[in-house]
Amino acid sequence: MTGAQLENILKKHDYQKSSLLAILQDVQALDNYLPRKTLEAMSQRLQVPLTQIYYLATFYRAFSLTPRGDHLVTVCTGTACHVKGAATILNTLERELAVQPGETTSDKKYTLETVNCLGSCALAPLVVLDGHYHGRMVGTKVLSLLKGDKKDASKKS
């Protein structure tokens, strides 16, 4: 993120300290994570201690302090997905990508994450790959999804 981009975001929120959460959301939307340099600059510009910014950034699930991979794989672990086998799907992905939820593969290709519920319980268990919903997942289907199997129906949401 350039200094000008950050300045635009801060300006949009009127340099209000109370808008910190919204500012962080905008930074994350642009960079896909919260770079330390940006947070430091933000701390300077808003005259807010860096610790307070980190307090927010680490409290809320929506933020990441490390760069994410090219592709984001999100496993819904809501209750409906859980009783329909989300844990198996997550285990399969952890094994295949060799990462834990919240981590990125060493080739920076995939980031694996979980979400508490996406409100698409009729499609449980659900996996989201780069914003595309893939419902009624099973272990083998999720593997073919990763391999970019074109036959797998992908639905934009």
Binding site: Y60, T79, T92, G119, S120, K155
Partner: protein, 615 residues
């Protein structure tokens, strides 16, 4: 141009209705593009309809949000006949237009087929999933394009606001809500009218109203669907509430994971502002009200009222002690009234139809209807709205269509991470705030997760403790460490490391967590554990004493074997196994080498002859 009086609003409504009447009973297509249907491919169906109909079509094409029957999405309804099509794909679009819309012919293969009778049912009204519901609040979604305020107007929208602003004093509005018996739909079930009254009576000239759309309860999505599908009903409720309380500023706090809800409520605010239904001197009444949207950061605890207000103020969402109520000192230390989406959406209905009418629905202590998300091991997954007091049996079997695959019902989990599991013996329990609490669960925001014999109740308790230990804000030791300790014990039990006394330890620590924590999240955190111990103690004991998981879920306590009689030696499991734990060749029944097996379940999933057994 902003509307300046109730008359101008009525004139506009008459104009919209006359225009629609002049067009006659138009042929039309209604497509659900709510989140559930989108996930099932409704966006592609939408594009296909747009393309096929072109720009100047005489056929009215409307895209709405959730109709509730998510299991069967994408859902399309052909008007004026009301033909209900399910599981529609882009390939079906030309046929729907050519046959049903143009000629009125019904396409059999797209109709809903009643699993009980095997008969197809052509209209929505006749489908058992819908017939037993009373869709007071949620039913309008089907008629509304949420991005068009005209649709809401045509249905009588903002009439209740006019009634409140011009024919009722604020005190009368509060009295009406009190008499209706409306209780907060977000979880606690506090009487809404009483909350409004104490906020009105609180000292201070600046007061706030807040709509809580931080629906963090996993498995519940009714607030999302209301906000996405009928945002004006929420705004109207908030306007009436703000007038009654004496507030001119409000906030809508929406969960980060709900982008469509943010978008639709944003459009609704913009349209209402343009029409003069938000802003200064609304309809010439002298009443001012404006609304701001806040996006959450993805924290379950942010749904707690004091935590939510801290989040709006730009701090982390930590609850505070409530010796002083939010209605006295809430957001920016000013009197604040917070209700959730569904509560607000009930308000216009009550004001328009009257408290007596509303109070005639429901039970003694819980009035009106409630929207539930009926999900999990159930045939008809979706959102349902039923009168308070309907029994669980009616909900699960009559509306939900029972358990798939002929499996046996085990429990229904209500109230999310704060609730509990209700067993089969209580299926005739009338569902309302008080009965659920008595059964050791709670209403919560209305999640209902159905579980069958293949669901392990210890695993479910562990699941919720895992959730809660992650989501606990960490302010109170009792909640932060209590949920963690309970998780650790449950984790050990599911791994065959449970020991005598674990159940008693869980009960003790659960009690302590509930007693010593500040907010309702900690106060109810032990419910998933305590309720499963209460009703499914035998399952805990099987895990601890016999090192056995009766439901066949806990991987460390189960083994996968191949039944040589059922095995057709096709080799699929051998190829699929990630650890090469399966031996065998063509025509020789396969075997699993237990030392290599990681119990991932792939073999069972790919086996065409159901030969992989779990015990």
């Amino acid at each position: 141009m902003p509307l300046k009086s109730p008359d101008e609003l009525e004139q506009l409504r008459t104009k919209i209705l006359e225009e629609r009447k002049a067009q006659g009973e138009k042929k039309g297509i209604v497509l659900c593009t709510g989140t559930g249907c989108r996930g099932a491919g409704a966006s592609e169906v939408f594009d296909a309809f747009k393309k096929a109909l072109g720009k100047k079509s005489a056929i009215e094409f409307k895209s709405t949000c959730c109709h509730g029957f998510c299991e069967r999405g994408p859902i399309t309804i052909v008007e004026p006949l009301g033909i209900f099509y399910q599981g529609v794909t882009p390939a079906d679009v030309p046929q729907i237009i050519a046959e049903t819309v143009t000629k009125g012919q019904v396409i059999e293969k797209l109709l809903y087929r009643d699993p009980a009778t095997g008969q197809t049912i052509p209209t929505e009204k006749a489908i058992p999933f819908y017939t037993k519901q009373n869709r007071l609040v949620f039913g309008n979604n089907r008629h509304l394009d949420p991005t068009r305020i005209e649709d809401y107007m045509a249905m009588g929208g903002y009439k209740a606001l006019v009634k409140a602003l011009f024919h009722m004093s604020p005190e009368e509005v509060i009295e009406e809500i009190k008499r209706s018996g409306l209780r907060g739909r977000g979880g606690g079930g506090f009487p809404a009218g009483r909350k409004w009254e104490s906020c009105r009576k609180a000292h201070g000239d600046i007061k706030y109203v807040i709509c809580n759309c931080d629906e963090g309860d996993p498995g519940a999505y009714m607030d999302r669907s209301l906000m996405e599908g009928n945002p004006h009903s929420v705004l109207e409720g908030m306007l009436i509430g703000a007038y009654a309380i004496g507030s001119s500023e409000g906030y809508v706090y929406v969960r980060n994971e709900y982008p469509l809800a943010v978008e639709n409520v944003g459009i609704a605010i913009e349209q209402a502002t343009k029409m003069g239904l938000l802003g200064k001197d609304i309809l010439g009444s002298g009443f001012d009200f404006s609304l701001v949207i806040n996006k959450g950061g993805g924290a379950f605890v942010a749904g707690e009222s004091s935590a939510l207000m801290a989040s709006i103020e730009g701090y982390v969402a930590e609850p505070r002690a409530k010796h002083i109520h939010m209605t006295e000192s809430g957001l920016w230390e000013r009197p604040t009234n917070l209700n959730n989406v569904e509560t607000w959406a009930n308000v216009p209905v009550i004001i328009e139809k009257g408290a007596d009418w509303y109070a005639s629905i429901g039970t003694q202590g819980s009035k009106g209807t409630k929207i539930f998300s009926l999900v999990g091991k159930i045939n008809n997954t979706g959102l349902i709205e039923v009168p308070m007091g309907m029994t669980l049996r009616e909900i699960v079997y009559d509306i939900g269509g029972g358990i798939p695959g002929g499996k046996r019902f085990k429990a229904v989990q209500t109230g999310g991470p704060s609730g509990g599991c209700i067993p089969e013996s209580l299926l005739d329990l009338p569902v309302d705030f008080d009965e659920l609490t008595k059964a050791g669960s709670m209403m919560g925001s209305g999640g209902m997760i159905v579980m069958d014999e293949s669901t392990c109740m210890v695993d479910v308790a562990k699941y919720f403790m895992h959730f809660l230990k992650d989501e606990s804000c960490g302010k109170c030791t009792s909640c932060r460490d209590g949920t963690l300790r309970m998780y650790e014990v449950l984790d050990a039990i599911t791994k065959g490391k449970g020991k005598e006394g674990d159940i008693e330890f869980l009960e003790e620590i659960g009690w302590m967590t509930a007693e010593a924590s500040l907010c309702a999240l900690g106060g109810s955190a032990a419910n998933p554990v305590l309720s499963t111990i209460r009703y499914f103690r035998d399952e805990y004991e099987a895990h601890i004493s016999a090192k056995r998981c009766p439901a066949g879920v806990c991987t460390e306590l189960i083994t996968f074997t191949i039944d040589p009689k059922a095995c057709i030696a096709c080799g699929k499991c051998r190829k699929g196994c990630p650890t090469e734990a399966i031996t065998g060749e063509k025509k020789v029944p396969h075997k699993i080498v237990q030392a290599k097996c990681i119990k991932c379940g792939t073999c069972r999933e790919v086996c065409p002859s159901d030969a992989v057994k779990v015990a």
